[in-house]
């Protein structure tokens, strides 16, 4: 099979697409935002409970392609328990990865779970899918209700 496709749709991504983690609504979040990608119809909600500047809980719900769904799922796993400040740093790093600005193999490896998204950089039109959850999380943290990646 085409190697670019293999890079894009890695087993980990397909697994998170099928069985998304933290896929639920948090009834009383301290922070919440809704993300939309009108171009492909992706639509998700990110819920957070932030306590003492830390992500005490994070979850998502919504509808989207495999890339956006798995990205949201993996993001919730990575951010749970982390300081909010680190969440923002990770967002920047993740964005650099999927837009092809991080190419150093060791640096990519050090990103842990997020490294599975390195294949996105070969598919520029999918960058928005992969980053939707992160944009939405960032908006929630900054108390914005909706974001659109258009």
């Amino acid at each position: 099979m085409n190697s670019e496709l293999n890079e894009l749709y890695q087993q980990v991504i397909l697994d998170h697409n099928k069985n998304p983690r933290n896929f639920r609504k948090i009834e009383e979040p301290t922070h919440h935002s809704e993300g939309l990608n009108p171009l492909c119809g992706d639509h998700l909600h990110i819920y957070l409970i932030i306590e003492n500047e830390r992500v005490a809980d994070i979850a998502f719900q919504g509808n989207g392609c495999a890339i956006s769904k798995s990205s949201a799922s993996i993001m919730t796993e990575v951010l749970k328990g982390k300081p909010v400040k680190e969440a923002e740093e990770k967002f920047k790093e993740f964005h650099d990865l999927i837009t092809g600005h991080i190419t150093d193999e060791d640096q990519i490896e050090a990103m842990g779970k997020l490294a599975v998204f390195k294949g996105i950089s070969e598919f520029p039109v999918r960058v928005k899918c992969a980053s939707l959850a992160w944009h939405t999380m960032n908006a929630a943290v900054h108390q914005k209700d909706t974001v659109s990646t258009e």
Binding site: M1, N2, E4, L5, L8, Y9, L14, K18, P38, L39, C40, G41, D42, H43, N63, G64, C65, A66, I67, K69, F123, V125, R126, C129
Partner: protein
């Protein structure tokens, strides 16, 4: 096309003769669609190392060399502003442009070229009517009827009008096959109805609507009807007089012509009583600071320098389409749709969206548990170009309870190999997703 200089003004007759020669060249026998494919240079390239399979003609069609060369020729040898100069080139460009208007008139069987307004495309055609006709004749409490399968460009201009005027938008529902429920339409019509705007063929479902009947019903209430023909004129013959359509609009770029040019047909008596759409050059006959009188039809609606090369290109695109013959195109595309149905409907996990009895060559589908955006990416890697998303028909997505769809759409240059490639690529999608 060799470079050629004109020693004297090339007459309309000569231009017409040339296009007739082109027409008869193709017409001598039943069209050979494999030869026709040769006329479209964009199709003959590889994408990511594979031969391009283009199944997105509903978004835009490719252009035959016959059209590309005419546009090239215009910019090389005829470029000039129209209606404004006494000099040779200006007259030449004006004649070419006005000749294109005559070709459009004949193509849709309008009564007069005064009824043919050049616009940017279908979107501008609808906006022109919603603004000009709507602002003058539609008022608070009036009702406008559209359908559930409209493209956003035949929804939003009417919504804006409703907001401006306090009018009300009514929507004809559809059944699960994606066909209009005509009884419901008849119930919606009443004394308050002031406009009916309906798509001739749906870009998402392929459904061909019974527009003649829709128009007849509306006329019982003296209500004008606008038909969005963006997905019609390239697939079958349209006769605006036989339909008795009040307004009919379409885009050049979906009819094998250039982008940025389209047509709004309007009945003369309606266009005459409508105020101008935009102000500027060309649309006036006399301007002073106190008062301006407007130019005659259709120029009243054509402010500013138009897309001259586009209009000319559209004229030649129409020549090309007529040369192949819409009857032949219709048969060819119907055979392709048949083949696609046979080939694709058997794939487990594939659900078609839009299964109307009367359907043009559009095949929209979803795959079980696989988002259309992922389908689109994998198909693209296989060299197969389809459209994915809501296709500018978000209300339809909700009607069929899908976030988006994948759509393969066919033009005259497609063949069964293209559909085989699509079927194979779909199997690949399932393979990736395990």
């Amino acid at each position: 096309m060799p470079l050629r200089f004109f020693s004297k003004l090339q007459s309309i007759k000569q231009i017409q003769m040339e296009s007739e020669i082109l027409t008869s060249e193709i017409k001598t026998s039943a069209p050979d669609f494999s030869k026709i494919r040769e006329n479209f240079p964009t199709l003959h390239q590889t994408v990511k190392g594979r031969q391009l399979v283009y199944l997105d003609s509903a978004a835009t069609t490719h252009k035959p060399v016959q059209v590309i060369e005419k546009i090239d020729h215009y910019y090389r040898l005829q470029n000039s502003n129209i209606h404004r100069g006494v000099h040779y080139l200006s007259q030449l460009a004006t004649e070419e442009y006005e000749n294109a208007r005559i070709k459009v008139k004949n193509f849709i069987n309008a009564s007069s070229e005064k009824e043919i307004v050049f616009v940017k495309g279908t979107t501008e055609g609808v906006n022109l009517v919603a603004s000009s006709y709507g602002n003058r004749f539609i008022n608070e409490g009036d009702e406008i009827i559209i359908t559930h399968m409209e493209h956003h460009s035949n929804i939003v201009p009417w919504q804006l009008l409703c907001e401006r005027k306090g009018a009300v938008l009514r929507v004809i529902p559809i059944n699960d096959r994606g066909e209009l429920i005509m009884e419901e339409y008849k119930k919606l019509l009443n004394e308050k109805t002031k406009m009916v705007a309906v798509v001739h063929a749906s870009n998402t479902l392929g459904t061909e609507n019974p527009v003649k009947e829709i128009i007849e019903e509306a006329h019982k209430y003296n209500v004008p009807v606008l038909i969005d023909g963006a997905q019609a004129v390239q697939h079958f013959e349209v006769d605006v007089r036989a339909l008795d359509a009040d307004f009919y609009t379409f885009s050049g770029h979906k009819l094998y012509g250039p982008t940025g040019i389209g047509v709004l047909y309007g009945k003369k008596e309606l266009l005459e009583k409508m105020p101008p759409y935009q102000g500027g050059g060309d649309m006036i006959s006399y301007v002073s600071f106190e008062r301006t009188t407007y130019n005659e039809l259709p120029y009243k609606f054509e402010a500013g320098t138009p897309h001259i090369a586009g209009g000319i290109g559209l004229g030649y695109a129409i020549d090309y389409v007529k040369g192949v013959g819409l009857q032949a195109i219709k048969q060819h595309e119907a055979a392709l749709l048949d083949y696609a149905n046979k080939k694709l409907l058997g794939i487990p996990g594939l659900t078609p969206i839009g299964t109307a009895e009367k359907k043009s060559s559009v095949f929209s589908f979803v795959l079980e548990n696989i988002h259309p955006h992922d389908i689109g990416t994998i198909l693209d890697v296989e060299g197969v170009a389809v459209r994915t998303g809501h296709l500018c028909t978000q209300p339809l997505m909700r009607r069929f309870d899908v976030p988006a769809v994948a759509r393969a759409s066919f033009g005259m240059y497609n063949n069964t190999d293209d559909i085989d490639a699509l079927a194979e690529a779909i199997l690949k999608v399932f393979k990736v997703f395990g």
